[in-house]
Amino acid sequence: MYEGVSFLPLTWPDMLYMAPELFLAAVFLLLVVADLLLPQKVSRLSIGWMTVAGLLGAAGFVVYRLIDLQGSGREVGQVIELLGASYVVDQFANLLKLVFLAGTALVALMALGSVKQDKDITDRAELFYLLLPAAIGAMIMASSGNLVTLYIGLELLSITSYVLVALRRRSSKSAEAAFKYVVIGGISSAFILFGMSYLYGLTGSVDLGDFRTALPEVMTSYPALMYAGFFFLIAGFAIKIAAAPFHAWAPDVYQGAPTPVSAFLAVVSKGAALAAVLRILYNSAFFISGGGGGGVKPVGNDVYLALLVLAAAAMLAGTTAALRQRQMKRLLALSGVANAGYLLVPIGLNFTTVHSSNVSEFIFYLIVYLLMTIGAFAVLTVISQAAGHEELKGFSGLYYRAPWTSAAMVVFILSLAGLPVSGGFFAKLFILMGAASAKAYWLVAIMVISSVISYYFYFAIVRQMFMRSSSEEESEIRVSAPTGIVIWLCAGATVALGLMPGLLMDWIQAIFTIRGDLLIGLG
């Protein structure tokens, strides 16, 4: 037996707490078998609908757990920790699981609306049911209380994603994308494991809860090893997050993958990696930074600074690279790089006395990002079906051919550009406020400047939609019902968050506490 790693059996109450994950796993197995047994003439779309139902069911379990935790009137530190604190069910995990499940459900709906048009996809059912293990992986990452669990979640998510990217079997682009993703993803996993090994070597434990006490003890003796551990860890996750300079794979992979899978990578995969970084750092680096108390301890501060530099690089690189981009999926990939930068800001800003709302800012932005990105991808599926390609000029004259869809697209663009009245405006505003109250003015400036640069390419889409006439015959574009539902749910929620952002922030703040829901084993 390795030191610090103990194996405990899974008990029945434990399984109850893991109900969302186990339920999804059961649905997944059921659907795999169903796909094999169902006769060919039964439409595989029914599997898609069952996938959506399964995701919503799992979300129901999460909501139950969330309300149960909130209503139990528990004391701070009374966190549900399973299997020797390797699996944690707290509100941070619950909130993120809800986000991931909602995101995956929207992606599945989008796939339902667009899978028929994509002739390159040979096995439609796989596109649906493979989303389930990927979602489970993301959920495990959000809930993991030790590095091994985290790695298992990460690999489950990653390996399923590799398959999902390769699903357009008749397209060489898809194969190319999948191969690139496998290689880069492998490198990323290697980096993460390598970083983890250093942390384990320094502390003798893989439990996040142990880092809090173990890291400060060894910090003065082995600072170099600690830097190496954290920086490899961050670099590995930065690849998953697609933060510059680790983002070069994203445009290629997004372009080759089926559009719903691109959306999944942009939202759920990225969100899960960000959540993991957030959880790890606040259980480790935080306690060897100035924020942990007990004098200035530089290693943690430098780790946080590295994240902020990464964020700044992602924002600037993402927006400037997108300026000349005319391929819509690549453009959205680069927009995702810039957004990864924004999302990294609240994580990279340490908790300070006057500013500790990082997590609610992060979750708010993640929700808004989910809505606008999935919405934009959904509109893109409609456009690419009508135009036969995914170039920017496919949007030309959209106003004449689908006025309502173009109105929804304007909402997404305003939100992506951070303009009012949209959720994106407030999401950026809250992060900016946080950065300013943490006195990171240079970051405020970079965030605002990169937003302005982004106007240029976001509004290029508006220009195509409203100011150019369509080159093709001006027939109306039909939007399939599931895609329509996705577009309008996302657009409606984006506008609602632009008018009433306080409600969501209120809710997050009401159920989340740092000590109870982010840190592990702090009683």
Binding site: F351, T352, T353, V354, H355, S356, S357, N358, V359, S360, L414, L419, P420, V421, F425, F426, L429, F430, L432, M433, A436, S437, K439, Y441, V444, A445, V448, I449, S451, V452, Y455, Y456, F459, V462, R463, F466, M467, M500, P501, G502, M505, D506, Q509, A510, T513, I514, R515
Partner: protein, 543 residues
């Protein structure tokens, strides 16, 4: 029952264009006349209400202006790191208010927009969308002048940019997309600079602690009144140094930060105004945007920059503004002379007027730089006056263009013969622009320069040169258009239709009215300077 005191009159003014927008969206899109009528009626209501407010405002001098407030967004912040704090939050208020500075600009907005709505007959396609964006633009402009919360102000400011982008890009002339893009990027940079300044302001001057009994509230607020109060209150957190607090005060705004904020605000609003090196975007807009939108752009939108400079730059940072008065004066002088000189060389009537706008905004800066009451009155008078005059002139240019299909000065001439009414109007507008006594332009220039003579006589002397140049370029272009030999192709051109003539007459009437009774405007302004600038100057600049 008194409408003004019992109804939330400011909110009604602000909500009318939005309600009109809904009506426009519900009307059938092919009915141009209905849509046009709906837009006109919608824009007349804020005009009527703001005039009512004006009548009441003059009567009620000495009582504070109107204010309406409600909490819009209340964001709870994590307070686990702060012990004993009941609540820690960031509040965005729906706070609207009016005082002697914003009232004239609200009326100007309502008036110019209503007249532009009349003049929108040039719109030949997609009427419904046009009027929808048009009304959204009005709501944004009114919001800018009414807002008493930094973020409400900022959101309104951004709304005008979005609406303008569509209005220029879809309904403009040949190079409309380029113009719209340039507009978006320049104004985007301007508003980005503002946003940085606002966020830092809220995080320093916007912070306050409310304590009553055991309840301890930490609040960030963007409310303008709170900010102004905190800035002037020596016991507010923003003014207490860290040493005075016995350690750390993250809300203290040091000298360097004050200067940074002041410069950021001046640059942000300066791009909008526009101040000399940042003016290229507005030339494109003036050339490419459709006539009624240029009326609004030149008449109102440029004034938003000026208003912001006074409201946020001068009022919140009077010390810095005073120290920078010479810089402002020099910038103003550059604007004035550069604009006038280039206007003299332009061959296109639109370009002449665009540069004339730059030149006239120079006079505004000069009045501002005088940093005394009369200069500031002149500056604001100049804003209103130039708003009216440029709206009139651009309306005329648009109407001429429709008939002649060109605005090139060498190709025009003798139009007074076929279009005597419009030519007369052009002459009157030109005379107002060059500052003929009896018209509003004169008062604005006179007061501004009078103020400047008091503080910087040499610069004022140089500014007179600009006045002479103005006369030269205005007369050159106006006379070229109206008199001289007429091209035969213009002989059949018809004079103004009623929908065009009404806004021309109304605008000119107001220009004459203000020229003859300047106290109509200066009285309300006087009242506001009394209450706003004097206490600030007394406490912060040391009297």
């Amino acid at each position: 029952m008194n409408i003004l005191s019992d109804w939330p009159i400011l909110s009604i003014i602000l909500a009318t264009p939005l309600a009109g927008l809904l009506v426009v969206l519900l009307l059938p899109s092919r009915r141009n006349r209905w849509l046009h009528a709906a837009a006109i009626i919608t824009t007349l209501i804020p005009l009527l209400l703001s005039c009512l407010l004006y009548s009441d405002f003059v009567n009620l001098q000495g009582v504070s202006g109107y204010e309406e407030q409600a909490t819009w967004v209340e964001v709870p912040l994590n307070k686990e790191t702060l012990e004993g704090v009941t609540s820690y939050k960031f509040i965005i208020q729906y706070a609207v208010g009016i005082d002697g500075l914003s009232l004239p600009l609200v009326i100007l907005t309502a008036l110019v927009t209503a007249m532009a709505a009349f003049a929108s007959i040039h719109v030949k396609k997609r009427w419904k969308a046009f009027y929808a964006w048009f009304l959204l633009l009005e709501a944004g402009m009114l919001g800018v002048f009414l807002a008493r919360d930094l973020f409400l102000f900022f959101i309104s400011f951004e709304l005008t940019i979005i609406a303008m982008y569509f209005l220029i890009g879809i309904w403009g002339y040949f190079n409309r997309e380029r113009a719209a893009n340039q507009f978006l990027i320049y104004n985007g940079i301007g508003s980005a600079v503002l946003l940085i300044a606002f966020i830092i302001l809220v995080n320093t001057a916007g912070f306050r602690i409310e304590q009553s009994g055991n309840v301890l509230d930490f609040i960030y607020s963007g409310n303008y009144a709170d900010l102004a109060k905190n800035m002037t209150d020596p016991t507010a957190w923003v003014n207490l140094t860290s040493e005075a607090m016995g350690g750390l005060n993250p809300f203290h705004m040091g000298d360097a930060m004050q200067w940074t904020l002041f410069v950021l605000l001046m640059v942000g609003f300066g791009i909008k105004l526009p101040i000399f090196p940042f003016h290229t975007w507005m030339l494109k807009v003036h050339t490419e945007a459709p006539p009624s939108i240029v009326m609004i752009h030149s008449g109102v939108l440029l004034k938003m920059g000026a208003y912001g400079m006074i409201r946020f730059g001068i009022y919140l940072f009077p010390e810095q503004a005073k120290a920078w008065a010479v810089v402002l004066a020099v910038l103003g002088l550059v604007n004035l002379l550069y604009g006038a000189l280039i206007a003299f060389r332009q061959k296109d009537l639109k370009q002449v007027l665009a540069y004339s706008s730059i030149s006239h905004m120079g006079i505004f800066l000069l009045g501002l730089a005088a940093f005394n009451e009369i200069g500031l009155q002149g500056a604001v008078f100049q804003l209103v006056s130039h708003g009216l005059i440029s709206a009139l002139l651009f309306l005329l240019v648009g109407s001429f263009y429709e008939r002649t299909k060109t605005t090139e000065l060498p190709l025009l001439g003798g139009l007074a013969r076929s279009m005597p009414f419009m030519s007369g109007m052009l002459l009157a507008g030109g005379l107002a622009a060059l500052g003929l006594p009896g018209l509003s332009g004169f008062i604005g220039e006179l007061l501004s320069l009078l103020g400047l003579f008091e503080s910087h006589p040499w610069l004022a002397g140089l500014a007179l040169l600009g006045i002479i140049l103005t006369a030269a370029y205005v007369l050159r272009s106006v006379l070229k258009v109206t008199f001289g030999p007429m091209d035969e192709q213009y002989a059949a051109a018809k004079d103004a239709r009623l929908v065009e003539a009404v806004p021309m007459i109304v605008l000119l009437a107001v220009i004459i009215l203000l020229g003859c009774y300047p106290s109509m405007l200066t009285d309300t302004l006087h009242y506001s300077y009394e209450t706003l600038i004097h206490p600030i100057l007394a406490t912060r600049a040391g009297g």
